[in-house]
Symmetry: C3
Subunit: 354 residues, 3 copies
């Protein structure tokens, strides 16, 4: 179950560089590519001629050409031409609204009428020269909501990521969860502790000592349908923590765009945005490599958790204080899905079978 | 869905050289081997003792011996002997009519009473010393009818095989489809074009210039249940094309015996028969290698097409002029299946459970 | 279908050395580890917090700590603690009776009230310094009863193990099957034969000539739920066979503990106990390697047999004289299962969902 009237990250720009990409988003197989004007396009990945995946084809002068018998598809899902055929009667395939923004290709799997750029989540760090971003993509065989749970309860860092970002103080410090409209925010402030390895590295990268007590913070912010931005950082102890002046702290934003593929699999776009040494590409690569290793530790846990939940489908899970963020996020998601269903199915009926 | 009252290619002779072969044909697991007289045999791949696959056994003096407890099976599906046991009451297993002809082992999955050598499709090129044959076998995860469609509409060559046998003129030249009883023939004649790489090679192999205009032809002939023979060739332009004298042309027959394994998988016996330089084994090997590469390009397309069709089961496909050959072939197949069903199921009931 | 009120081998001690082990037994995912007192423990492999497999966690001072969020589980399935949480209301998970005996970890998947050490099958060779044991573990994709059939009818040795322990005389010599309460015994005595390769090796290892006629015996003993001990050996011919004095024979016990994983898969603990040269570790390793190769030959046969039986579910198998052992064992198993079902399901209801 996932909201459909929403923007999801479908791909990074490099993935559609010169060739079509086949990817399933919210259960729908899509082909993504760039049209003649350079704008990204998303269509149903199904050639109306014989059902071949259009993603096996090629992009020729901004037109998608089926790799089987050469049908030329338009960006609106209507066939443009096919060698030796009149194509006026060809049934259209579904086309999906697409926006390229913040360094990602976004698609809207629901009713195209409701898609608007205003509904894209703002990302203040993107397109800001004082910030830089590095990240990657994982395919994870688990319900996308398990990843939201994971990111909204960082006590798992102590156990899953013991050697990098975990530390016992995370467990010991209570977190606080608040609702701000459809957003859910879980925050934790740990004062006067010693920084774990990742943050000692970040302190050094900021020209700060790595052997002194720090104030550490984690502010996880869920926004629907499934984005989690986490403000994280450390400041030399006693300078105001989260509000400390820039020369006393190292901080960044963990960026998580989580896109359901099916009910039990997801595309996980993870990364880190930072505003220190933004031009240092070697540092960006180093952080991405480290983060990639850390986040791959979650992958096995989530896939095994998913398998266990499928094995015991009736089993109730606990909803502790630390789970309040995930519980709140699921409540928002459930409410959005219920609202979509109340409006009726017609809004999301694929064009081609209408 | 496949006709059962028909001969299908089950194996090549080398595959049953000295050992039994297990292979599923039209949904039925069979064991194939050579009996004492050297004749090929096909039986249900199921030992009546404990259900072990007989294909895991050995052939000892032309008798199939189960590899589990030594039951000795006769070529008619009746147990011959078993150490220390009287075997008279053992239930027989099903045996299938088999013919070895044209360089292949053929089986008849339906009613044995209806099997006759007369119903084998004639192959004039086989057993003719002026011709030679080279080919291979692919396992393809797709409905066998998708391969028939593929072979009856060669416009796909322009896209799937762009670097070997494809060329735009195939698309641009209309094809013509005719019915001849249960046979379906789709033909295309392209005059005064330049030959693509494969045919330039063939022209050279025939001692002909490869840089002059040619007349090219493709005559696809489907016969039930699922054989497609394609006469293909090029002649130096203006010498009569298909009817040109032998010293002005290079031609051959693409041989396709397509055998359903299950509803969504097939055994695809592909090859080429040619009547130029038939004794040149190096050329045979070269052509087989080239054809093997080309035909493997179809494999991915068909498997992905099959996956797409399973995902959108209700979706209608287009039946364009270029699809007339495949549409006609499917109509013949459907008619044969309907006729078999009208006769009733009793004719194909396995002996062992009768 | 398997009896649940029974001890099954779940693991060897090395497998839970310092870390938890996840293993499915009789359909139930379990985590096995050693508690603070060193005793082996088996629990449902499901963290009551968020459903993560506890087997991904760690054992810290004899306590199982979930690898996701640090829940500390007690040996009785009740949560001991969790950072920052009161755990009194946490639902318990199921715990299973465990015994470590005869060199194995045994679990009782059924009603804990009925589990008693008295119901463990005695193994006179275990914990006896005059004997030694070597063995291994195979995962086999087949119903555990197919392995019982296999071991109770050793005529398969002639075919499956032709190069090691098989010989035609096994087929030619009738076997005899008797019932002793819930035990089923199938025995075969072959007098005045020549020993096959494995036994010639064993004769030499006992300081006996390997080129003289021997009397060979095989006494297969099934006890429920699924254990098969096979007394095997050879004695120089004419010295009393099975009853010959120790200096005239080489003998051992083939040990088979067969544990269902699911309805169609099993954990197969195989090995050999012997009372000659018990201190010779090199010989133990050599025998284990040889036995491992021989028993892997059965694995393919059983997995293919299983696949065949699933394909022809309605098909009756033959029950010949040589099958009497397996047939008798299945009758005992069926009787035990029926008795358990008559008592009612409440006895085996998992605690956690009661």
């Amino acid at each position: 179950m996932f909201p459909r009237q929403a923007w999801y990250v479908a791909a990074t720009p490099e993935e559609i560089d010169g060739k079509p990409l086949g990817r399933r988003i919210c259960g729908e197989p899509m082909v993504l590519y760039r049209g003649a004007d350079g704008a990204a396009v998303a269509l149903q990945d199904f050639c109306p001629h014989r059902g071949a995946p259009l993603s096996l084809g090629r992009v020729v002068e901004g037109k998608l050409v089926c790799g089987y018998h050469g049908l030329v598809m338009g960006c609106d899902g209507k066939t443009l031409s096919m060698p030796g055929q009149r194509v006026r009667g060809f049934p259209p395939i579904r086309s999906y609204p697409v926006i390229e923004r913040h360094g990602f290709i976004w698609v809207w799997p629901g009713d195209p009428e409701q898609a608007s750029a205003q509904r894209l989540p703002p990302q203040h760090w993107a397109d800001n020269p004082e910030w830089t971003y590095g990240g990657g993509l994982y395919h994870v065989k688990a319900d996308y909501r398990l990843m939201i749970d994971n990111l909204m309860d960082l006590t798992h860092e102590t156990y899953v990521h013991a050697t990098s970002i975990g530390q016992p103080e995370i467990d010991e410090t209570p977190c606080k969860t608040t609702l701000e409209g459809d957003a859910v925010v879980t925050s934790r402030f740990m004062d006067g502790i010693f920084a774990p390895p990742f943050w000692r590295m970040a302190l050094r990268a900021n020209g700060l000592p790595d052997d002194q007590p720090v104030d550490r913070w984690q502010i996880c912010r869920f926004t629907p349908p499934s984005h989690v931005m986490i403000e994280v950082g450390v400041a030399l102890a006693g300078h105001g923590g989260y509000s400390a002046p820039p020369d006393k702290k190292a901080s960044s934003i963990v960026v998580d765009f989580i896109t359901p593929e099916t009910e039990t699999t997801m595309w996980y776009f993870w990364g880190m945005a930072r505003n220190f040494r933004p031009g240092d590409r070697a540092l960006t690569a180093q952080i991405r490599e480290g983060q990639g290793k850390i986040f791959s530790e979650d992958t096995e846990m989530l896939e095994r958790q998913q398998a266990n939940l499928l094995r015991w489908p009736g089993r109730e899970l606990l909803k502790l204080n630390i789970d309040a963020g995930g519980v709140g996020a699921r409540r928002v998601i459930d409410r959005l899905i219920a609202a979509e269903q109340a409006v009726g199915q017609h809004a999301v009926t694929p064009i081609a079978t209408a």
